[in-house]
């Protein structure tokens, strides 16, 4: 049975480890780990059958020392305040590690959107937006898509917020459709970022990308785009999975066909030219690169010693528990931590926000080349720091991120 994991506990333990290494003073430590704001809202929704349901909604702003808060909104039946706090904290470190001028935030609603109609989800989104509108805004806190939310959800948020303000405010959310101020390249940005850091890692480790065997856990936006782009640069994707099951082909899966198949059937199960495998054995498949891009807490002390990959690129947030992380480090597996590996999304979100504020839009090539530079620079800084300090990539990334936020906090000082 899988160990029960509280993401916020993981988050605090990760922070304390880094704070010790950075010799942070107790006051700064407390300031950095406690969220700045936690808003809990009740979200009443009229369902299609005329009944009322009240959902729990959250918006947590962890830190705004380096700029406005930034982070996604997720709709999931397992959303809790602790999970949202952890995700908001990780957003602070993620924005700091790629050096975009944002703090961290996260939001969520405890609901099962798979059991709701599109109209119900729209009403839920609009009411939630109204409830959190007191703390969001282009200069305050900019939401984005996350688990079970997408460009349509962002459009409803932008519209509701704009109605409340009395004018259009495209900069209030990112991940919007192009028609209303979205950015080219945003959709594939997280997966593209994963591809860039994997490519850099392969270079640094002196390996060859061609025919490297890749296993991708999760086939949503991040997993499918990472798989597509890794296939494009010469890797062979041998396994993919989603919540319904896992499929495998040791000769390689045609990812374009898999994307079309999932688009039409909604799941990877029964994908032609693949064989089904036990999802519990999926992460331990023999491969060179493992991309966990589903939910958190997937690599635990129970399966970490069985993982066969040389490189793990964490497309998801918090897929590895701290115990598992130590096992992986001892085994010499090169882990590209979540706050670096999946930072492509927030980087292009930043580009989208900049474009919205300037009312001037860039080409997809411009967006992708700026993203490549951000990801390569961040990878190099973390890799150089890890090498110099003989530490894991995760510790190096956290140290750099926490140091940047600590320095911003110290320089700004505490009011009054």
């Amino acid at each position: 049975m899988k160990e029960k994991i509280n993401p916020y506990e993981i988050c605090v333990r990760q922070f304390n480890k880094v704070a010790d290494k950075l010799e942070l003073e107790p006051g700064i430590r407390e300031f950095l780990i406690k969220p700045k704001r936690q808003l809990i809202v009740s979200v009443p929704v009229e369902m299609d059958d005329g009944s009322y349901k009240v959902f729990d909604g959250y918006r947590v702003q962890h830190n705004i020392a380096r700029g406005p808060a930034k982070g996604g909104i997720r709709y999931h039946q397992n959303v809790t305040l602790d999970e949202v706090k952890a995700l908001a904290t990780w957003m602070t470190w993620k924005c700091a590690v790629v050096n975009v001028p944002y703090g961290g935030a996260k939001g969520g609603i405890t609901c099962d959107p798979t059991k709701m109609s599109a109209r119900e989800i729209e009403r839920l989104t609009r009411r939630y937006t109204a409830e959190i509108s007191i703390i969001i805004g282009p200069e305050k806190d900019i939401p984005a898509p996350d688990v079970n939310t997408n460009a349509q959800t962002m459009s409803w948020i932008m519209d509701t917020y704009s109605v409340l303000k009395g004018y259009s405010v495209p900069g209030v959310v990112t991940g919007k459709p192009l028609f209303i101020g979205g950015s080219l390249g945003r959709d594939a940005a997280t997966g593209r970022g994963v591809m860039y850091v994997v490519r850099e890692a392969v270079k640094c480790l002196g390996l060859q990308l061609n025919d490297m065997k890749v296993v991708v856990q999760g086939f949503g936006n991040v997993g499918s785009n990472a798989a597509l782009l890794l296939e494009e640069i010469g890797c062979k994707i041998i396994g993919i999975c989603d919540v319904y099951g896992a499929v495998y082909n040791k000769k390689g899966i045609d990812i374009k066909k898999a994307v079309d198949f999932v688009r039409s059937t909604g799941k990877v199960v029964d994908l032609p030219d693949t064989e089904p495998i036990d999802p519990d054995e999926f992460l331990t498949l023999e491969c060179d690169i493992l991309v966990p891009s589903a939910l958190e807490g997937q690599i635990t002390k129970d399966n970490a010693d069985k993982i066969q990959a040389k490189i793990i690129a964490e497309g998801a947030n918090g897929p590895t528990t701290p115990e598992a992380d130590e096992i992986l480090f001892d085994r010499g597996i090169f882990v590209i931590p979540d706050i670096l590996a999946n930072a492509g999304g927030v980087s292009v979100s930043y580009f989208e926000w900049v474009q919205d504020l300037m009312a001037h839009y860039w080409t997809e090539e411009e967006v992708n080349s700026k993203l490549e530079k951000i990801m390569k620079d961040a990878f190099k800084q973390v890799y150089d720091s890890a090498t110099a300090q003989k530490t894991s990539m995760r510790d190096a990334a956290y140290m750099l991120a926490v140091a940047r936020v600590a320095e911003a906090t110290r320089i700004r000082g505490i009011y009054p």
Binding site: L22, Q381, L400, E407, R410
Partner: protein, 70 residues
């Protein structure tokens, strides 16, 4: 690590940032320590370049001497 300008001891956080940020200013005297770091790196590579430059100069001198001789 100490700031090369004001001599103030940098904290672990500041030393880390001074080592890996693209640009970093000493938080006590606001001098650009990155420049100092770059100058340090440059002076290291310069010492190699100057050796090469001296070698080039020697080569040129011998060429001039050879021309004179011709």
């Amino acid at each position: 690590m100490k700031c090369p300008y004001c001599g103030k001891e940098l904290s672990k956080v500041e030393a880390l940032l001074a080592s890996f940020e693209k640009t970093y200013f000493c938080p006590y005297c606001w001098h650009d320590i990155t420049n100092y770091r770059r100058q340090e790196q440059m002076s290291l590579s310069k010492s190699k370049i100057s050796t090469k430059g001296q070698a080039d100069e020697r080569e040129n001198k011998s060429l001039r001497n050879m021309r004179k001789a011709v």
